[in-house]
């Protein structure tokens, strides 16, 4: 399905807490051939450790199949939560999509 240059986009929006755990888990799934993954959380206005745990699980899944992940985060408050959890350097985080795409596929246009 995914050729070498294609990018998988996983997207969530709004307020993410334990009430949406199953939805978050369902969205953070990788096709076996995914190699470049853009996690677009630019419209997420609130996220707690539910999302952090799911992101760590997604990161492990990605490592297992040699996929690269870039996360786009729009809200300051969400970015702070990642720091508070001590996960500031666990993910490749970008505040706009363009920079995330460049990281995923340098030299490609999308």
């Amino acid at each position: 399905m995914n050729d070498n240059s294609s990018i998988t986009v996983l997207r969530l929006a709004g307020e993410l807490d334990i009430g949406r755990r199953e939805e978050i888990h369902g969205v953070f799934q990788l096709a076996p051939d995914a190699r470049r993954v853009l996690v677009d959380l630019s419209e997420v206005t609130y996220a707690d450790s539910t999302t952090l745990s799911e992101l760590l699980r997604l990161r492990a899944d990605a490592q297992a199949q040699d996929a690269r992940i870039a996360i786009v985060i729009g809200s300051k408050r969400f970015a702070r939560v990642i720091e508070y959890a001590g996960l500031g350097s666990a993910f490749a985080i970008f505040d706009d999509r363009g920079a995330a795409l460049t990281y995923l596929a340098p030299g490609l246009q999308s």
Binding site: S49, V81, G86
Partner: protein, 134 residues
């Protein structure tokens, strides 16, 4: 002027209650003119504590209640308690989990936990309520 303001919410400990409880705390903090960044930090810490009551407290037993109590103690301190009557689960940190209490400790000025007949998390937060600055 806002000293003595308080919010007490008693609810069934269920996942669908976490969002409206947080929204109520958010509007409460706005009404006592807590600045936005401080408010957002308090919301995430208290949200983690409430989520823990929902997720862990009544594990295996029949679901019970969760209580959120927030009070302006003095012009610079918000005291919050999150209380359930379930059972505290003491365990080693699990891989990829255990960020909730870490976030709580990062944000709160002080944290104390009682685990007698349920879990009671006391948190103190610094607030510089705009309404109290002359």
């Amino acid at each position: 002027m806002t000293v003595g303001s308080e919010l007490r919410l008693n609810r069934d400990a269920e996942a669908t209650g976490v969002t409206p409880m947080r929204h109520a705390l958010s509007a409460f903090l706005d009404a006592i003119a807590v600045d936005q960044d401080t408010r957002d930090d308090i919301l995430i810490a208290v949200g983690e504590a409430v989520a823990n009551a929902v997720e862990h407290a009544y594990c295996g037993s029949s679901p019970g209640m969760v209580q959120l109590y927030a009070r302006v103690d003095d012009a610079r301190t918000l005291a919050v308690e999150v209380v359930d009557r379930g059972e505290y689960i003491s365990r080693e940190r699990r891989d990829g989990r255990g960020f909730g209490m870490r976030i709580v400790r990062s944000v709160a000025r002080a944290v104390a936990i009682e685990t007698d007949g349920g879990t009671r998390i006391h948190m103190l937060f610094d607030i510089a309520s705009a309404a109290d600055t002359p």
